[in-house]
Amino acid sequence: MTDSLTPPRRKDPLKMTRAGHVPPTLRSRAAKAMAVRAGQGRFVLQACDSCAAAVYPPRDRCPTCWGPLSWRDQPQGAEIEAETMIRTTTDLFFRKHLPWRIGAARLDAGPMAIVHLHGDVRQGDRVCMELKLDRGGNPALFAMPEVETPNMQDDPQLRVFTADPKYRRILVTDGRGPVGQAVAQALIKAGAQTVFLGNADPLMRFPGQEQVAALEDAELVPLNLTDTRSTRELATQLGGRVDIVVNTVGLTRVGGVVFGGKLTDLQAGFDTEVTGLMRLAQAFGPAMSGRSDDGVNAASAIVDVTSVYGLTGKAGFAGAAASAAARLSLIAGLRGEMQRSGIRVMSVLTGPVDDDRHQHVPPPKTPPVQIAKAVVEALIKGQETTCAGDMAKDVMDRWQSDPLLAIREENQ
């Protein structure tokens, strides 16, 4: 069984912070394609279009019949044939995490793979393979116990592949809205040490204020993402001790492009959601990068809660979808930049949120608690893209299978 994680102590000011290195990052294009699927929480291997054989490591042609290969979901079972505990390495990241256990796994899907081992996994064990992303955003096969073990999630090797909220200090950017409030509650329940809840207008009351004030491990902090000074000022205070940032700020306005769309809404939406995201990233990214390998409460993730319609556009919400699209684009860029220092950048995609802004949208809608659940799940799994609820999943599925069709459907 895994030892329960001990709460991090306060930092010894005489100790230099461990630099945030990432494991080796050089990968083939095929491995990057595997990463994309890993980021969605899928367990995939390539299989041959002609002979159906599953292959690993990632290849460009089938080694059995030379047919073309496609990524397919695979059974997750495996057996550990051999194991070793690595005690020396020249890699700057792993040097700081020795000893490190790996094994040779015979995958039920067919191929052999070198895999990371959970602490409760031994040679000869049946395991459940997961396809994770490492700190550098690359795919990693991780062998988990087949049956859940005590404190399984606290395994130190596993924690490197997640952004588990347990014992972490988390900034949720919009504490004034129902989504941020639900996220805060879910994070506290998932073991977060502190949740800082942004308040864009400390002089103005808001619904749910009393409940937020009553949350034991939550604290309201002034943060207005449309205000560079406000964002920077909070970062100067919290930058060194925020381990996860969850951006729940949204400004959904109804309207089309030519009919009913307001330019001021578009401007305000872009300033709040897009420029705001960049302000947030610029304010908190550097300090987080410097603490990405800082022990139990190392800085680990930036999560952006965005509308799934950023993928497609949306009739009646043209401006809101446009800012979601811009957010997704910034998130992609941010992900690439933060991968170098080991900070995960994640998207939680929502359908129409069940709030006042979507009064006229018929159900199903995405309730804030579902978004909160998705945020916690994304962090625990270390997953890049997570759909909150059925609406988002539906749009995502259709977009993945035929992007142009999904775009057309959503805009008619």
Binding site: T84, T88, F94, A104
Partner: protein
């Protein structure tokens, strides 16, 4: 399979070892030049006289054999670049021999050279292969130690081979190294020291690992006639084998390509394991030494522990093994590590060893193992060398 044609008419001579150093600021080109200079000293020949050139190196990048040829002023009419690392010596040998037999070339200089600059081991690893980049290094970056730890872990369990078996091999090789002035390891190794060494990647411990270093190895393949004219002692090739990516379906490597081709080797060589005066096998880790002895027909895998216990592997022993100390005690100079087994076997049959001579040695088995492209060595090779003439 049809029996391999003989290598009649081609001979191997002039083994060269450029003394190894742990770290070198020089380039692979420099080390290659040093080996060629030594060949020139032995033969009296210059750059324009070698009409064949066969090259192996990991650290010559961005140059291939083409860049080396121009860099060092060669003008061959036949050349080759062998990328198989630990299997490259035998592969250079058999390619050059066929070229000479066919008169595509008359005298081929075979050279393997690698430098070892500070940090170049890590860099070489990082760029080694696509499968390694995708599927090995990100898993703890234990390098070959971790990969062979998995192989060793599995092998020990599968064939009931204990660490004491590996200890015997490593201690014997160290003993052999003590007479080799070029060996990097110059102090005796005891069984206790081996057993008590610190773990590197369980079950691989410190003395299971080679020490990366810089160095070069070379030899010449030419015609019997030219060897005579140059006054060189010569050995002939009785037979060779080569295999790549054998037994790909084995979950963890327990055998190399030798297991598939060994009968061909002994049949073509018209001899058997017990005819060998010594064996020079690839020894990046002792588990691979054990694996080769079994795959090469010296014993069954299930009998390995017994076989090892029953034999002595020192120069004076019942089965002299890696008589220069092997890479485990002499150092691993990159691709030159895939040549040193050839040069040492050649020296022993030509009676010009660096250290102690195996008494009356006439036959050497040399085998190579190379390129951990992913989770196992992909390339295997072996050759039987026989003394032709001492000059």
């Amino acid at each position: 399979m049809a029996r391999q044609r003989s290598y009649d008419g081609a001979v191997v001579c002039a083994p060269v070892t450029v003394p190894y150093v742990r770290f070198s600021p020089e380039s692979a080109h420099w080390w290659t030049g040093a080996a060629l200079q030594e060949l020139a000293r032995l033969t009296g020949l210059g750059p324009q006289d070698f009409d064949g050139f066969c090259f192996a190196s990991f650290s010559a990048v961005p140059d291939s054999v083409v860049g080396i040829v121009q860099h060092l002023g060669l003008s061959p009419r036949w050349m080759d670049h062998i990328p198989t690392g630990g299997a490259s010596g035998v592969m250079a040998l058999r390619r050059a021999a066929r070229a000479v037999q066919a008169r595509d070339a008359e005298i081929v200089a075979c050279v393997a050279a690698d430098t070892n600059q500070i940090d170049s081991f890590r860099k070489t690893l990082a760029d080694f292969s696509r499968f390694s980049q995708d599927a090995t290094y990100p898993y703890g970056f234990g390098g070959p130690n971790a990969t062979f730890a998995l192989i060793t872990d599995h092998f020990m369990r599968q064939y009931s081979v204990g660490r004491e078996c590996f200890a015997k091999i490593c201690v014997a090789q160290r003993d052999n190294a003590l007479s080799n002035p070029y060996a990097l390891m110059k102090t005796p190794l005891t069984h206790e020291q081996y057993m008590n060494a610190r773990p590197i990647s369980d079950p691989v411990h410190l003395f299971d690992c080679v020490m990366p270093c810089a160095g070069a190895e070379a030899f010449i393949v030419t015609t019997s006639k030219l060897a005579e004219a140059l006054g060189l002692s010569a050995a002939r090739l009785r037979a060779t084998i080569e295999r790549h990516n054998a037994f790909a379906a084995d979950p963890v490597q327990t055998r190399g390509g030798w297991a598939r081709d060994i009968d061909d080797l002994w049949r073509a060589a018209e001899c058997k394991p017990t005819d060998m005066d010594m064996v020079q096998v690839y020894d990046d880790y002792p588990v691979i030494v054990a694996m080769q002895m079994a795959d090469m027909g010296f014993c069954k895998k299930s009998d390995l522990a017994e076989f090892i216990a029953a034999n002595e592997f020192t120069i004076a022993g019942s089965l002299p093994l890696n008589t220069n100390g092997g890479q485990l005690s002499a150092g691993q100079a990159g691709a030159a590590g895939g040549f040193q087994n050839v040069t040492e076997g050649l020296r022993q049959v030509l009676h010009c060893p660096l250290g102690e001579q195996v008494p009356d040695a006439r036959h050497a088995l040399v085998s190579g193992f190379g390129l951990v492209n992913y989770d196992r060595g992909v390339c295997t090779s072996a050759a039987v060398l026989e003394q032709e003439v001492l000059r």
